[in-house]
């Protein structure tokens, strides 16, 4: 009996020599793309890593509640209430999944390097593109990690496993992100590689780099990048609602997207599992899981004045509209929607509220679609949902809350508003006005939503600003517009933080929202809440090399 008797090969897995090839590099690259949806495999559990960043970007802001019941996913309550400790599983999920993304990008670059230094199965032109794609993805994964944790360790394709185990988190990694993005801009084509939607390209890299500059308040460096990306495109020709329409994906407004699909066997691993908890509950056609509900504050922010403009001075909170919240008995049963209220029409394309038609589900009935309205309010979200007519083609069978709706990481309206922001900070108010108004003019094209009786559900109105009297007013208008346009898309919390107004905005929101829903009163936001603790388990695993935030 020789050694051969004892030597076996892994079953159904590949060993290192088997992946060192052209196909191996391309496959590793695809694997690196595979983390865009924030999920490795399975469907439950990776909510915090969702490409939409709904938990950190929206639930932690004034736009959304965790939803469901108070006792459901209590660790998410701590994210919402700024009381999270370092043992919160949402933090370790976020950390681990995005570092997995970084590792896959690194692994691609490592294999590519070996090929280029050896067999050269890959042409040098394609090799440059692959580098661009991998570094673009790596930049994205690092940026998402940086927004949540700020002080994070950096590794690249040259870092060994032993070095990585004890890599400290004491350097500013934003310059590294910028390096990767610059490389991507220089080496990625403007057109999609192989004509494949979902591939990274030069425009995405430019928009992303602009965004990173924006976070650094480098308006002058960001603006030309945004201007390049916009390239004179007319956003008013691109319907707002197409961004959330599972039948109209890969449209003109989409820039950087996390692509989603239901596997051929009906499994959800590559679908939009990050947002699955947001599915409507109760007697809705979806059935689960009742998370991610819009705040009363957000809904009221869509109020408009007689000029079709938002109430920038927070006066929208007076005479608050709260649907049937607080009613009981017959008053609740007989509640009638007030259709005379003046709202920006984007409200009813962002929020489901009682008495208004909701996609093709019929009229939203109120509490019957909500798990506990007294806890998280009377509203439900809409941007993550698909029509029931699309369940058969675009949802996991039996789990209508798991769909293959793509999620925009950067869409053109975001770029328009970021460009407007740069212009305001650079005091180019007329340009900013035009940009913001293009967003508003498009919103005005939205078809009115109806009640059960076919009437308009509100006095819809959204009009352009006539002028910006000063920089401060323009800034307010811009910030309000970002909220209305991009609500429930994962931007709000990070915007508040980078604008430096998080404490004031969130505590003010808490006193309003908390007066209606007790779970959100007396929230305290300190500067250390602008980012989150490093997961304790990761500190432990690093042998205490990582330092807690």
């Amino acid at each position: 009996c020789g050694k051969e008797f004892l030597q076996k090969l892994p079953q159904g897995q590949l060993s290192e020599p088997q992946v060192a090839s052209k196909d191996g590099v391309e496959a590793e690259l695809l694997g690196a793309y595979g983390i865009l949806n924030g999920n490795i495999s399975g469907s439950w559990g990776n909510y915090a890593a969702a490409p939409s960043q709904w938990l950190f970007g929206e639930v932690a802001s004034d736009n959304a509640h965790k939803g469901s019941e108070q006792t459901d996913q209590p660790n998410m309550n701590m994210i919402e209430n700024y009381t999270s400790n370092s043992a919160n599983d949402n933090l370790s999920t976020m950390w681990q999944v995005y570092y997995e993304g970084v590792l896959r990008a690194n692994s691609t670059l490592k294999l590519l390097k070996a090929d280029q230094e050896g067999a050269k199965q890959i042409t040098s032109a394609r090799a440059t593109e692959i580098q661009g794609e991998a570094r673009m993805l790596r930049a994205h994964y690092y940026f998402y990690l940086w927004r949540i944790f700020k002080n994070i360790p950096f590794i690249d394709e040259n870092t060994t496993l032993d070095e990585a185990k004890v890599k400290p988190n004491n350097e500013d990694i934003v310059p590294k992100i910028i390096d990767d993005l610059k490389f991507a801009i220089d080496n990625l084509p403007t057109t999609k590689i192989n004509g494949q939607s979902g591939r990274m390209d030069k425009n995405i890299a430019k928009a992303y780099l602009g965004k990173v500059y924006l976070y650094q308040k480098k308006w002058g460096e960001a603006l030309p990048l945004f201007t390049d990306v916009l390239g004179g495109k007319d956003i008013t020709t691109m319907p707002f609602e197409n961004n959330f329409d599972v039948t109209k994906e890969d449209g003109a407004e989409r820039l950087m997207v996390s692509k989603h699909a239901i596997n051929s066997n009906g499994d959800a691993d590559n679908a939009n599992v990050g947002d699955m908890l947001s599915g409507l509950y109760g007697s809705s056609p979806v059935g689960c899981c009742g998370f991610y509900q819009p705040t009363i504050d957000l809904v009221n922010a869509y109020k408009v004045d007689n000029n079709g403009l938002p109430l920038l001075d927070n006066s929208y909170r007076t005479n608050e509209y709260k649907s049937d919240l607080g009613l009981a008995g017959a008053a609740k049963t007989n509640y009638k929607l007030d259709t005379t209220l003046a709202f920006d029409p984007r409200l009813d394309y962002t929020v489901g509220r009682r008495g208004v038609m909701y996609l093709d589900y019929g009229v939203m009935p109120g509490d019957a679609w909500i798990r506990d309205a007294t806890y998280a309010g009377p509203f439900v979200g809409m941007k993550t949902m698909i029509p029931q007519s699309q369940f058969a083609a675009h949802a996991v069978p039996g789990q209508n809350y798991v769909t293959d709706l793509d999620v925009s990481i950067i869409r053109l309206a975001d770029v328009v508003l970021m460009a407007a922001e740069c212009n305001i900070e650079l005091n180019n108010l007329p340009t900013a006005l035009n940009l913001i108004n293009s967003i508003r003019n498009r919103a005005a094209k939205l078809a009115p939503k109806k009640t059960r009786y076919g009437n308009n559900a509100a006095k819809y109105s959204v009009k352009p600003y006539t002028s910006f009297p000063n920089q401060d007013y323009a800034r307010k208008a811009l910030r309000f517009e970002r909220r209305l346009e991009l609500a429930m898309e994962g931007h709000r919390f990070f915007d508040l933080v980078r604008w430096g107004i998080a404490k004031q905005a969130l505590e003010s929101y808490s006193s309003f929202e908390g007066s209606l829903l007790p779970a959100y009163k007396d929230l305290v936001f300190n500067s250390n809440n602008e980012y989150w603790p490093i997961p304790q388990s990761e500190i432990d695993r690093s042998n205490n090399t990582l330092e807690q935030n």
Binding site: A27, S197, P397, G398, L546
Partner: protein
């Protein structure tokens, strides 16, 4: 010259060997002429012939009887030899590694199981009844029919796989034993310490259970028919007590300041509760068969009295067993065959287990007995369905989404059935519990089936009388398959209209080829030496295949459920495993004057689980014993029949970890590394597993000291053992930081250490056998205590929390603490008022009426750093007590088993004791804290509890001690020949009646204090998510022999 002349004087001597008590002839007794090569055995009428001469000493031996020596005084008359039954068992032959020994010659720690007693407890699995029969063996079992019990020998030797190795007729076996028929077991031994077990090297860390099946006996065919019929009756009085719907509503009204009343109807179409009008509840609108929410219309009345869900899930369940066997043979050929059926329905509805088994064991002799060939073959077919049985992995059925999990969670205002006779449920705002009766019913056709073949063929040849060559080839082949159906569950609030079926098929095969050479030279009367050397090669392969589809046109016919008929969700998968081992081993047993015994073993194993750096491991063992009672100076101590002091030290190994840890591995995976690029999902690859090239064997070093004693000619016997085992190089999947390995698997590293120390004591008293008294009594007690401690995990890691369950993590690996200790906040009472909260350490959102925790680190706040060890799932000791008594033809057996000092984690309290989800609430809440009931330890219910209140805490920890009267059985041996006459062919006619699980004394409030471990990152011990309770069983049995 003289020796030769003696030989020439040999005459043929004849004689008969009988049982001294009953005077019945003994067939197959061995007669040896001491100092000569002559050996023979008795025929079926107990007669023998042997060549001997006057003054020769004949040694007569027979299993179970005292060896007797008789000096030949005459060569002409027939010798009548009476053998006395051996109560002391000192001469009992014990199968140890690759050889047999007399019990008196054992030097290691070996528990010999009394198989007769073992069989008095009916069990689907032969090893289940090991519970309490073998000192030092802890068996955790549950009430699921045909379930696999969890067996630990001397505690947990590792944080990895702790199942013992089984050796069945010489063939190693790892896995569950539900295929083995209890009645086929001839003997069972447990090798507990490393000196005894190290002959099995790399697979012996967790102890070795050696099972030998029945072989044929010389004589005319003995046919036996054994059967029993029993009924399991659920112990409904131990079911958890729940509040009534009115009590729950009162609580809700108080909390919300409302004055709601109990509704008459729960649901009518999309309308719920008190909003339902009589026109809504019009049965003409009823449509349960709707294919979507819009057309589905269910009408459900409230069960204001409260549905008793545990009662609804329980049933009286029959068990039946029929076994027929035959044994017999002649001097040169013996045979044994058996066949039987076991059918067990579960005491929970729609669960059950069936087994058909057939076995043949035969042996043949040639070349004047120098060649012996034989086989042991078993085929069994088992079929299981329902929770706890399918899949048959102990403890794995537990969980919040299981039948029992939902029995705790679903509101009891929901009835089992709606007004149309279909299942009612939580749809319409009645919480998120699913109807457990519906889940159980819908799984009734989900069966797993296994065809199991296990057997071996062997040949032995005496090259010279002292040297025997044996070759044994064992084969295991298992083929299993099953289907799982998904039915729509629209009555459930989170249900769907989906339907589907998945189906799986797989096989596992393993062959073991063992060759041994045994040398037993004759070194005079004072020395005895036996040397064994051998090789063993093992190769295994497994593969399974599964497929699933959804969208079946009809669900009303099982005949329709084939994959082809499904129309959507077309999925398939397969996986496999391969493995091999090659080993060489040797053993030497030496004894001097029957007083000084020494045994040395060594084994070198090679395993495909390890890379070239550590392909082989060597496992030595040495043990010795001193039979003090044989010394000259002890000869005057007449009450002491036998006293033996033993000491042993050995090293064993464990290689049971997932393979290929020494390689970096990549996966091309549709699930884990794919991306829908360009509109189609394309598969990429990722590094799914990182390598540790140095991965090697776990090692247990174990020291055992003990003594065995027999007093008053066998009236009292017992043994005592002390042991200290340390596991080194314990394989630990050291979690590496995500920055190094992302979400891929970190490799196992040989880094940890664990220690088990313990003592075991057994004592038995026997009355009446020796005296030939019609009244006999045997009392046997054993007690064992094991202290488990994790010595180290890794230099950088002193703890790892696991057992994640919602917001709780129940268990921990922590250095210095027992394996899987319970972890969480330590409750120190209830906050009494706002001052109490303000003036004491608290957590965000702490409130009067909420749980108050100990500030472990004295930093004045309660946070994650204050979590600590809150309980120990390991018992202080386990004990058992057996009573066997007989008077003439009546016998009575009783058996008590207990576990003392172990904690249990009643995880179901998460749902029943807090405001978590709208569901059933425990009656404990009736006595919850309130400003007027300040002494209560149960927190008041609230809508606004802080997350910390639901965290793992000692509120969940309960005393899990119990003592159970496991079995009581009364039998009557009808004197067949008296009734049917001496010419009747009936030799045995026995009827018996018994009760198992007669009662349990415990303070534990869950379903059953015997809790199987659940799988997590590591097995979570003693965490109760809803265990399949053991029902009381009444049974009647009949044994016929002819």
């Amino acid at each position: 010259i003289e020796w030769n002349s003696n030989k020439h004087q040999d005459k043929i001597i004849t004689g008969t060997v009988r049982d001294a008590n009953s005077n019945t002839p003994l067939a197959g007794a061995t007669i040896k002429v001491l100092g000569k090569a002559s050996v023979t055995s008795t025929n079926e009428s107990g007669a023998f012939e042997i060549g001997a001469t006057v003054n020769d000493v004949l040694e007569v031996s027979y299993v179970g009887y005292l060896k007797t020596e008789i000096t030949v005084t005459t060569t002409t008359s027939n010798l009548n030899i009476n053998l006395t039954e051996d109560i002391s068992n000192l001469e009992e032959i014990v199968v140890t590694g690759y050889s047999t020994q007399l019990k008196k010659d054992l030097t290691g720690s070996v528990a010999v199981v009394n198989v007769t007693q073992l069989k008095s407890t009916p069990a689907a699995s032969a090893v289940e009844s090991l519970q309490g029969r073998a000192t030092g063996v802890q068996v955790v079992t549950d009430g699921a029919p045909g379930s696999t019990p969890q067996i630990k020998i001397r505690g947990f030797s590792t944080i990895n796989n702790n199942e013992p190795l089984y050796i069945i007729d010489g063939v190693p076996f790892e896995g569950k034993l539900s295929w083995l028929n209890q009645n086929d077991v001839e003997s069972m031994q447990v090798l507990k310490d490393a000196s005894a077990a190290s002959i099995y090297g790399a697979r012996a860390n967790n102890g070795v259970v050696i099972i030998t099946t029945k072989t044929g006996k010389i004589g005319k065919p003995q046919i036996n028919f054994d059967s029993y019929y029993g009924v399991q009756v659920p112990k409904t009085n131990s079911f958890p007590k729940m509040m009534t719907p009115q009590q729950v509503l009162d609580l809700d009204n108080m909390l919300n300041g409302t004055s709601e009343t109990l509704p008459e109807y729960l649901l009518a179409g999309g309308i719920s509760g008190n909003n339902i009008t009589s026109s809504d509840a019009d049965m003409s609108k009823y449509n349960y068969d709707g294919k979507d929410r819009a057309s589905f219309y269910q009408i459900t009345k409230a069960n204001q009295a409260g549905t008793k869900w545990f009662d609804e899930l329980s049933q009286n369940a029959p068990t039946q067993s029929y076994q027929i066997s035959a044994t017999g043979g002649s001097e040169n050929a013996t045979y044994a065959m058996s066949g039987g059926y076991l059918g067990q329905k579960g005491s929970l509805i729609h669960t059950g287990f069936e087994k058909f088994n057939i076995r043949t064991n035969s042996q043949f002799k040639g070349f004047d007995g120098k060649l012996r060939i034989g086989e042991n073959l078993q085929y069994s077919y088992t079929e299981g369905f329902g929770m706890g049985v399918n899949p048959n992995v102990a403890g794995d059925y537990q969980g919040e989404g299981s039948v029992l999990g939902f029995a705790y969670r679903i509101q009891n205002i929901i009835p089992v059935y709606d007004e149309g006779g279909h299942f009612a449920g939580s749809y319409g705002g009645w919480g998120n519990g699913e109807n457990p009766v519906a889940i159980a019913y819908r799984a009734k056709d989900d069966k797993n089936r296994s065809n199991f073949f296990f057997g071996n063929a062997f040949a032995e040849y005496d090259l010279i009388p002292e040297l025997m060559l044996r070759s044994n080839f064992g084969m295991r082949y298992e083929n299993y398959n099953g289907i799982n159906l998904t039915y729509p569950n629209p009555e459930f609030s989170e249900g769907s209209f989906n339907n589907g079926m998945s189906e799986y098929q797989g096989y596992f095969t393993e062959w073991t080829w063992t060759n041994t050479l045994t040398y037993k030279p004759y070194l005079g009367d004072q020395h005895s030496l036996s040397i064994l050397a051998g090789t063993e090669a093992i190769k295994s392969r497994g593969r399974d295949l599964s497929g699933n589809r959804n969208g079946y046109f009809t669900l009303s016919s099982l005949d329709y459920f084939y994959l082809n008929a499904g129309t959507s969700n077309i999925g398939n998968a397969s996986s496999g495993s391969v493995g091999s081992m090659f080993s060489i081993f040797g053993k030497a047993d030496y004894s001097f004057m029957d007083r000084y015994l020494l045994s040395v073993t060594v084994r070198r194993d090679g395993s495909s689980n390890f890379g070239s750096a550590n392909l082989y491991g060597t496992f030595p063992g040495v043990s010795g014993a001193w039979r003090i009672s044989q010394e000259e100076f002890m000869q005057d101590v007449s009450w002491l029949t036998d006293l033996k002091i033993r000491a042993g030290y050995g090293i064993t190994g464990n290689q049971r970890i997932p393979g290929y840890q020494y390689l970096n591995r990549f996966a091309s995976s549709l699930t884990s590394s794919s991306y829908p690029i360009g509109g189609t999902t394309e598969s990429g690859i990722w590094q799914s597993s990182y390598a540790n090239e140095d991965v090697k064997w776990e090692q247990v070093k174990s020291l055992n000291l003990g003594f065995d004693f027999t007093i008053l000619e066998g009236d009292i016997d017992g043994s005592f053992d002390w042991y200290d085992k340390t596991t080194d190089d314990m394989l630990y999947r050291l979690p590496l930081p995500a920055i190094a390995v992302g979400r891929a698997e970190s490799p196992y590293v040989n880094i940890g250490s664990m220690n088990n120390k313990g003592v075991e004591f057994s004592l038995a008293y026997h009355y009446g056998h020796r005296q030939g008294n019609p009244f006999t009594l045997d009392l046997a007690a054993n007690i064992s205590k094991n202290n488990n401690k994790i010595v180290s995990l890794a230099p950088s890691v002193d703890q790892q929390i696991f057992g994640a369950f919602r917001s709780m993590e129940t268990s921990i690996l922590k250095v210095g603490q027992p394996y899987a200790s319970f972890f969480g906040y330590k409750t120190v009472g209830i906050y009494q008022d706002a001052n109490d909260v303000a003036n004491n350490p608290s957590y965000p959102g702490a409130r009067p009426g909420g749980l108050k925790y100990a500030d472990i680190n004295d930093d004045e706040v309660i946070d994650a750093a204050d979590r600590t060890i809150i309980g120990n799932p390991h018992p202080d000791f386990v004990y058992s007590f057996n009573i066997n008594t007989s008077y003439k033809d009546f016998d009575l057996m009783m058996y008590l088993y207990g576990s003392q000092g172990n904690d249990l984690y009643e995880a179901t309290r998460y749902f029943t004791d807090f405001g978590v989800f709208k569901g059933q609430k425990s009656t404990r809440l009736l006595d919850a804290w309130s400003p007027t009931n300040t002494g209560s330890a149960t927190p008041s219910i609230t809508n606004e509890a802080a997350a910390e209140e639901y965290a793992s805490s000692s509120y969940y920890i309960q005393d899990g001690s119990f003592m159970k009267l496991k079995n009581i059985q009364l039998g009557y041996n009808i004197p067949a020949q008296k009734i049917f006459g001496n010419n009747s062919s009936f030799t045995k006619l026995r009827v018996y009646m018994g009760v198992t699980n007669v009662f349990a004394l415990t303070k534990y409030e869950g379903l059953d204090p015997e809790i199987s471990a659940t799988s997590s990152d590591y097995p979570a011990l003693g965490v109760d998510f809803g265990i399949y309770p053991q029902a009381r069983q009444y049974m009647l049995g009949l044994s016929l022999g002819f």
